[in-house]
């Protein structure tokens, strides 16, 4: 407040108190208190108001936000007083989204509001720490080796006795402080030694969701990219990646911003607890209700979001797909069969694969789906077209002949497709169905069902109309869908439901009731309302989905059944309609600049991206405990191709076919491999192929327990791998770290072991030589790490944040300098790069590194393996050809002594090659001179004359300058490049902001609305909210799929093996059938076996905030497990009793939250419960413990390893096995109420 204003206020207050009625109200003085005593005034009293005014006073407010584990991307005001951060409140200055919509203010949640507590928390990591035993070993060895830290490290880790000495102390306290210089030298020495001895791919970096602190993420990945280290994915590992999105859309995840919920007139919230997980956005949902939106919640429990529902469908956990299939049955029956809705049909013909033709093949007395008919099958002119095997075919009703429409992937790559990669059907009138078509023959088709017969399921026989085309029996995807969903039409063979109330026939409303417990009438009613709303509103029916539906092993099928509803009702690509996937989804809006810098693409390409799920599955030896073989998932219609194989075998098969990345890649140092090829006088490709053929070289994935194939050095930053995302937590402790653990499972017996992957005895423990944790708070990852480095908090550095929930990009700024010895992630990696480079001098030099790159999505390599045929060169089914039947082999030059110079400057590769996102090349070369002027240039060394990016704010500036969303010139240029391919106008989408450039300073001033860019699939402007695929729908730009359309049908060999051609219901994994009873013997207390769900918590964002004093005081002060009161009674548990939950994977301890809002048979432990707070010693394991993931374990789904086939191709965080955890069960019992910490 200005001084003069303050004076006036004070005067006014004085005046008021003078004129007020002053009545004595004290008992101890004279006078009669009036019962109406509210008007007592005393001058002294008013002066006492100063106490609270003083409390409120502050020196300044700094804009910052919270980085990493939350996707909210809320802008916050951090208050500083006397150099101390006091508290934070939400920023309310977002640009407007228009006068007829609620605005984006405020954004933030209780967790974010409590963040400043961490700044001065006693659990804050203030100094670099090393476990005492290791530091002592290092100092001794260093002295013994003449001060050579690399030799010292080599000595420690190569001696089994010294190695074991520090590894077995992991997790056992004993940290001591060390100087930054000493610690950096230790860490750098470990990297130099590992690169030289085992190869750069034996070092790994794990960090997560970059959008919420892009520079902090990139600082480390840039270091590892230049080093050649393994960069681990996170989105698939978290099971937040919906594999259905690549399968159906050819896109990782693209979702509407939350303001677009406002445009939905019907919203089904299906597996995402919006008030908890989308706290800052939830108001758009509550407000849209007043605009007439109906809200339906599908949730097994009555939760925070159920409160807002008009209707609540309490489907049993894991059965959502059954409900969705039955809703699809209703929709197809009433809106496609009984009545035809022109808009739905037009949408289906143009934007989905429903009219695409599928060839059938005989199967017993009937047929089964085989593959998409392609131009190659047609022969003749179509068959001789470029990429003919990659062009899907429809049946033209106008001509009565098959036709090849534009837009399939065959038009995306190659010369002939230029200007024709679009969804313009022109004169074509694709038939949706052959039913009633003259000359059509009805045939029986066998289709899988999974509601009976265990995981493998059974067989349904239904019928489709077919035509003979190109010598094949052919039908449409739509006809298969109708048969599969059980929508009877006259004249078709097979068995069909008698009506909605036929409970025996999949997929009727009555059938689903037997599985989900949702009454058939409710299912019918909601399906009808949903579709009818879409019809009336032009597609504005939306389904918000998330962890509740996505964290299941068969989540891709759950999602496909949900997406089917949206596609059938024409909702995708429509504002206010379509899918809204909200779990772990994120959006680095300035993607191109960030990606280029984060992975060092300005110096060398490509980097070693690695899907985390198989990485951890192998390195933590969870594969050794696999209970079910891969073929247990095969449908009876499969060919038995997985027989005798384990999941680990399938991964090995997939990686050598180039489908999916694997690192460490070979059982030889990739630097050595390049040298060996040179010595042999051969090209790397020829040499590697030959070595593989002869068996002298093998994939490391085939022998994960060989010491040469261990990952040796792991750096974790911006993440709590062990305490939060580590599914199979106890296996991490046991095998990766060699620490005490609670694994109770036994390894699989010889007959169940992998056929190909080598089994070594005994299972290694303590594979990792060095675990480095960079964090500002002490949590499990730090507690078990060898080295803990003190990071700056989110209020102590510069960075950038964006999200898909809102259209803005905004900044982090330091409210205070990092206190104690903390440093930002950016500065830590800068220092590490410097130390590493120094130690590399004379030890590593300039080397050539062989990088095996899988066949990548959005590159021509995605057309490597036509027809989705799974051919194995090791079985002689094809030749090993790098980039076709096996990974592409790329040689990258590593300049190790000058790594830091590269790290700190924008490299020259962008000048000519530009930067590429999703196949669109942005010509960023022109921005380099702007950046040179803005950031200044490097004056000497190999980066002489290049723009500096050696400070976090300069780095952020470069990200913004090199991205279309933040640089209008690039957005236009990118769209123009895309126009060449599609032949459709697009650049106008960005014209109105062509001259705009968002600088870092802009983001400090205010969150800035991004520019519409080809980096994303939706149009957005001041007038239009972002919704995915609106460019596809409005501008006929194809999806990045095989057909160019949204897919109902998938035809890869491995998909067929699992019987997952079409969306379907598969029940949760049968844990009890596979692993047997998990109750413990010899206990006198009753035990409850229950479905174990780990939803997202109200009191934390993953493990962050769960240890925050404010959050702890707002609920129960520690870990709880929720259970129904009837279940609690059965095992003698009262509210707040101590209980233990366990299974073969481990044990956790918690207190009981007994309630009636959770259904019997299900217990909830909200994710993530770390093991370091209010976690007593377990009666079962004798350890503090454990985490919510102590009870979980990874199982990989074979279809997620597919690659080399259009949208089913590799991409970082795009496609890969997910670390699902919802199919698990827990045994719960009351424990002794005497607890010990």
């Amino acid at each position: 407040m200005a001084p003069e204003l303050e004076d006036k206020t004070a005067q006014r207050r004085e005046l008021l108190s003078e004129t007020g009625l002053v009545r004595a109200a004290r008992y101890l003085q004279r006078g009669t208190p009036s019962p109406d005593a509210r008007e007592i005034h005393r001058r002294g009293g008013r002066r006492a108001e100063e106490f609270y005014r003083e409390r409120w006073r502050h020196d300044r407010i700094v804009r910052s936000t919270h980085g990493v584990n939350c996707t909210g991307s809320c802008s916050w005001q951090v208050y500083v007083k006397d150099g101390i951060i006091t508290w934070e409140t939400q920023a309310v200055d977002y640009p407007s989204v228009g006068p007829n919509s609620p605005e984006y203010e405020p954004r933030g949640c209780p967790r974010g509001a409590s963040f400043s507590w961490y700044t001065y928390s006693p659990a804050r990591v203030r100094y670099p720490y090393v476990r005492g035993v290791l530091l002592e070993l290092f100092r001794t060895a260093r002295a013994a080796n003449g001060g050579d830290p690399v030799a010292a490290w080599a000595e420690i880790v190569s001696n089994p006795e010294t190695a074991a000495r520090y590894k077995r102390e992991r997790g056992n306290g004993g940290f001591v402080r060390a100087s930054w210089d000493e610690v950096l030298e230790l860490v750098a020495a470990a990297h130099v030694h590992t690169v030289a001895t085992y190869g750069p791919d034996r070092t790994a970096g794990f960090t997560v969701i970059p959008a919420m602190s892009m520079a902090s993420y990139a600082a480390g990945t840039r270091f590892y990219s230049l080093l050649g280290g393994t960069i681990l994915s996170f989105y698939d590992w978290y099971a937040d990646l919906p594999p259905a999105s690549p399968q159906v859309f050819g896109d990782q995840t693209d979702v509407p911003e939350s303001a677009d919920w406002w445009n939905a007139s019907y919203l089904i919230v299906w597996g995402t607890n919006i008030p908890i997980t989308r706290t800052p956005d939830a108001h758009f949902m509550t407000e849209a209700r007043y605009r007439g939106q109906k809200v339906v919640v599908v949730s097994p429990d009555y939760s925070d979001h159920t409160k807002f529902a008009d209707d609540w469908l309490a489907a049993n956990p894991g059965t959502d797909a059954a409900l969705a299939m039955a809703m699809g049955h209703v929709l197809l029956t009433e809106f496609y069969r009984d009545r035809r809705v022109p808009r739905f049909e037009q949408y289906a013909r143009t934007y989905t694969d429903l009219p695409c033709l599928v060839a059938l093949r005989p199967h017993g007395d009937a047929f089964v789906p085989d593959h998409f008919l392609t131009a190659a099958d047609l022969g003749g002119e179509p068959g001789s077209q470029e990429n003919a095997a990659w062009k899907t075919v429809v049946f033209d009703e106008r001509t009565g002949r098959p036709a090849v429409p534009n837009g399939s992937i065959g038009f995306r790559w190659g010369e002939e497709g230029k200007g024709r990669w679009n969804l313009d059907l022109g004169e074509l009138q694709p038939a949706l169905s052959f039913h009633g078509h003259e000359g059509a023959t009805a045939v029986a088709v066998n289709l899988p069902r999974f509601d009976v017969g265990g995981q493998g399921g059974g067989v349904l026989q239904r019928g489709v109309p077919t035509l003979g085309i190109a010598g094949k029996v052919v039908t449409t995807v739509f006809d298969l869908v109708m048969a599969h969903y059980g929508v009877a039409r006259p004249g078709l063979p097979g068995s069909w439901p008698t009506g909605y109330h036929d409970a025996d026939a999949p997929y009727t409303p009555a059938w689903q009731e037997t599985i989900t417990s949702v009454p058939a009438a409710a299912c019918i009613r909601i399906a009808r309302e949903f579709a009818s709303n879409a019809e009336a509103s032009g597609g504005r029916s939306m389904i918000a989905m998330g962890a509740g539906t996505n964290h299941w092993f068969h989540s891709d099928q759950v999602y496909r059944t949900l997406l089917a509803l949206l596609m059938l009702a024409g909702c995708e690509g429509v504002n206010g309609g379509g899918w809204a996937h909200y779990v772990g989804q994120e959006k680095v809006r300035p993607f191109t600049g960030w990606f280029t810098l984060a992975f060092g693409y300005d110096w060398v390409r490509p980097t070693r991206h690695m899907p985390s799920t198989p990485f951890w599955y192998l390195t933590t030896d969870q594969w050794r405990y696999e209970g079910a073989r891969a073929d247990s998932l095969s449908s009876p219609l499969g060919s038995g191709r997985f027989e005798g194989r384990s999941m680990a075998d399938l991964y090995l098969m997939a990686t050598r076919r180039g489908w999916i990345a694997s690192a460490p890649t070979f059982d030889r140092n990739p630097l050595q491999l390049a040298d060996d090829a040179e010595a042999a006088g051969k090209s790397v490709e020829d040499y590697v192929v030959e070595e593989l053929r002869t068996g002298r070289l093998r994939f490391a994935a085939g022998d994960p327990d060989h010491p040469a194939n261990f990952p040796r050095v792991l750096t974790v930053w911006r993440s709590n791998l062990l305490g939060s995302s580590g599914k199979g937590h106890e296996y991490f402790l046991k095998h990766l770290l060699g620490a005490d653990n609670a694994v109770a499972a036994s390894e699989c017996p010889p007959e169940a072991r992998p056929a190909e992957v080598l089994w070594r005895e005994p299972a290694p423990e303590g594979k990792l030589d060095l675990l480095v944790d960079i964090d500002f708070r002490m949590v499990s990852t730090g507690i078990y790490a060898d080295v803990v480095l003190p990071a700056a908090t989110w209020y102590e550095k510069h960075d950038l944040s964006s999200t898909d929930m809102h259209p803005f990009v905004h900044s982090f700024n330091p409210a205070i300098a990092p206190p104690w010895e903390a440093r930002s992630d950016f500065d830590i990696f800068s220092a590490l790069a410097e130390t590493f480079s120094r130690l590399a001098e004379g030890r590593l030099g300039v080397r050539r590194d062989v990088v095996a790159v899988p066949l990548l999505h959005d590159t021509p390599d995605e057309c490597a393996q036509p027809g989705g045929r799974a051919l194995d060169w090791t079985a002689g089914e094809c030749e090993p050809v790098p980039g076709v039947t096996m990974p592409r082999l790329v040689v990258v030059e590593r300049d190790y002594p000058r790594l830091v110079e590269r790290w700190r400057a924008l490299g020259p590769l962008v000048d000519e090659l530009g930067a590429v996102t999703k196949g669109v090349r942005l010509p960023v070369g022109g921005e380099v001179s702007w950046l040179s002027a803005r950031n200044g240039v490097v004056r000497d060394g190999i980066a002489r004359g290049r723009p500096r990016i050696d400070r976090d704010d300069l780095f952020c500036e470069a990200i913004l300058a090199l991205s279309g969303t933040t640089n209008g010139r690039l957005a236009v240029a990118g769209f123009e490049a895309l126009e060449e391919r599609t032949g459709k106008p697009l650049a106008d989408l960005a014209h109105e902001r062509a001259g705009d450039r968002i600088t870092f300073a802009d983001t400090v001033t205010q969150p800035r609305a991004v520019i519409c860019s080809p980096e994303w699939s939706g149009a957005e402007s001041e007038r239009r909210r972002y919704s995915p695929f609106t460019i596809n729908v409005d501008r006929l730009k194809p999806w990045h799929t095989l057909s160019g359309r949204q897919h109902f049908f998938l035809d890869h060999d491995w998909i067929a093996e699992l019987g997952e051609w079409l969306p379907t219901y598969r029940p949760p994994l049968g844990i009890l059938e596979t692993f047997g009873d998990q109750r413990r013997e010899g206990l006198d207390r009753p035990q409850l076996v229950a479905r174990y769900l780990t939803p997202h918590s109200k009191w934390s964002i993953h493990s962050e905030y769960q240890d925050n004093l404010h959050m702890l005081n707002l609920f129960r002060g520690g870990p709880v497990i929720w259970l129904n009161y009837l279940d609690a009674e059965r095992i003698g548990v009262a509210d707040n009793d101590w209980i233990e939950a366990y299974n073969r994977n481990g044990v956790t301890v918690a207190r009981a939250a007994v309630t009636h809002r959770v259904p019997p048979g299900t217990v909830l432990m909200y994710h993530a419960i770390d093991r370091h707070l209010q976690m007593p010693v377990s009666e079962t394991s004798g350890l503090h413990g454990g985490t919510d993931n102590s009870l979980t374990r990874v199982v990989m789904k074979p279809t997620h390893m597919i690659g080399g086939y259009a949208q089913l191709s590799a991409g970082f965080n795009y496609y890969g096995p997910t670390g699902s955890q919802r199919d698990e069960i827990a045994v719960v019992r009351r424990r002794s109420q005497e607890v010990e910490f």
Partner: protein
């Protein structure tokens, strides 16, 4: 007519997501200091539930607020002045630490300093008062999302007081489950019993804006305000020995900024605005005989700022012109008096509370929805008020001393806004007409904008 201005809050429970951001930002700003660890000027309760401190709503137990004596005169429920004076050293109606909770922290530093050989260090709970290890058994939000409800929620005074018939609707089983959130701050009452209870005269209601405060210089720590407040929104700072309470963020209000809890309310459910009232009529209204008439009586005390006479009189009596203009734009006055969708919390306490609530809609009662709703009419998508999960009678016990009718009116108006707006965006005839609930078409539009668009400038006037 004695015109006074009051800053007043309305919270729309139909929008509350139960996130507790308000509690955290309030606590961080005002009470994260020794002596106030357990204090929440702003807290949020899950209903049904006993609340914080436990069962504070039961004035038979706590004797807060006012009651009528045999002659119909208002008197403090805690008893006569003499009675209170005699018990000044042993106030019998004070909540104990058990009713609040023993605040706690953790021995966090151990995570870093644990000696070598400490297996998987984990820190445990320590009392913030004694420093001793403790196992929390109750807290400021112990009942969040119905945790422990089967054991305790039936003690919720609003359930206890349900009439027969309605009581049967509240079954604490999975099939009948319902819940909603109730954020609470000090009510800054027109007739504050805390002020009247203070033996030291250390509490006062600010004349210019009606904010009720404790004078930190004169408070002697008798704590009669604590027991006298039926909402239990005056707390005792055990370090300073003085009472403290929600200040309505007066340092911010004076600077033209909304309260912390309002601005940071991410559900955007809080409204702040001026309400003018006739101070001469407060006493009479608070003494209205029939508790169910107290809601109407309080409405009767409010003055219409658009009435030129009221405006003139207000300015004559010293209410600044801009305050009168603000009162005309007041969203709280509109929600309370014009649209009558907001209701007072426990008017039967007779303190004339000035934080009002829009009651929440809820899902239909039947999980299955086999009944209710015509399957063939896909536009009849919203349920009728009496088919909702939250029994109207339960809400009535919270907001209207048990009279369900005003609650029904409020809920039907919300439902009508939804139906009319739905029809408008889909180009159809609405299933409910504004006239049926006493609103005009323009009212619906205005109410829609106030509830849904709810711009910052319109929420906080």
């Amino acid at each position: 007519m004695r015109v006074m201005a009051q800053v007043c809050m309305v919270m729309n429970l139909d929008k509350c997501i139960g996130c507790h951001t308000c509690s955290v930002t309030c606590k961080q700003t005002w009470t994260n200091r020794p002596g106030t660890e357990y204090v929440y000027f702003n807290n949020v309760e899950t209903k049904p539930g006993v609340g914080y401190p436990a069962r504070y709503e039961d004035q038979v137990q706590w004797k807060g607020g006012w009651e009528l004596d045999r002659k119909g005169r208002l008197r403090l429920r805690a008893g006569s002045r003499l009675k209170r004076l005699l018990s000044i050293f042993c106030n019998p109606d004070l909540p104990t630490l058990e009713d609040y909770h023993e605040p706690y922290s953790y021995d966090y530093a151990r995570l870093i300093t644990a000696a070598a050989g400490t297996k998987s260090p984990s820190v445990s709970t320590r009392s913030a008062l004694t420093g001793r290890e403790m196992n929390p058994t109750w807290g400021a939000n112990w009942e969040d999302d119905l945790a422990g409800a089967p054991a305790r929620a039936l003690e919720d005074p609003n359930i206890v007081a349900l009439p027969e018939g309605a009581a049967e609707k509240v079954r604490l089983d999975f099939e009948s489950v319902f819940m909603f959130y109730l954020p609470r701050i000090c009510e800054h009452c027109l007739n504050p019993s805390c002020v009247a209870s203070c033996p030291s005269g250390a509490m006062y209601k600010r004349e210019e804006d009606g904010i009720v405060l404790v004078d930190q210089d004169h408070c002697r720590g008798w704590r009669f305000c604590v027991s006298g407040c039926p909402y239990k929104k005056v707390y005792f700072n055990h370090r300073t020995g003085k009472a403290e309470k929600c200040t309505f963020c007066f340092p911010r209000i004076e600077a033209g900024m909304p309260t912390i809890c309002s601005e940071t309310c991410v559900g955007r459910l809080r409204y702040l605005g001026i309400v003018l009232y006739d101070a001469d009529r407060v006493l009479e209204a608070a003494a209205t005989a029939d508790p169910t008439s107290l809601y109407e009586a309080q409405l009767g005390v409010f003055l219409d700022p658009n009435d030129p006479e009221v405006a003139a009189e207000a300015e004559r009596q010293g209410v600044p012109h801009d305050w009168v203009l603000a009162a005309r734009r007041s969203p709280t006055y509109a929600l309370i008096a014009r649209y009558r969708v907001a209701l007072p919390l426990h008017p039967e306490f007779r303190t004339m509370p000035m934080v009002w609530y829009i009651p929440p809609l809820s899902p239909v009662a039947d999980v299955a929805r086999e009944a209710g709703g015509d399957e063939s009419d896909v536009e009849q998508v919203f349920a009728t008020i009496d088919a909702l999960r939250i029994p109207v009678e339960y809400l009535a016990n919270l907001f209207t001393a048990g009279d369900p009718e005003p609650v029904r009116v409020a809920l039907r108006r919300l439902a009508t806004v939804r139906a009319v707006m739905r029809a408008r965006q889909l180009g159809r005839d609405p299933s409910m007409q504004p006239g049926e609930v006493g609103l005009s078409a323009e009212d619906v539009e205005d109410l829609f904008r106030l509830l849904a668009i709810a711009r910052y400038e319109d929420r906080y006037v």
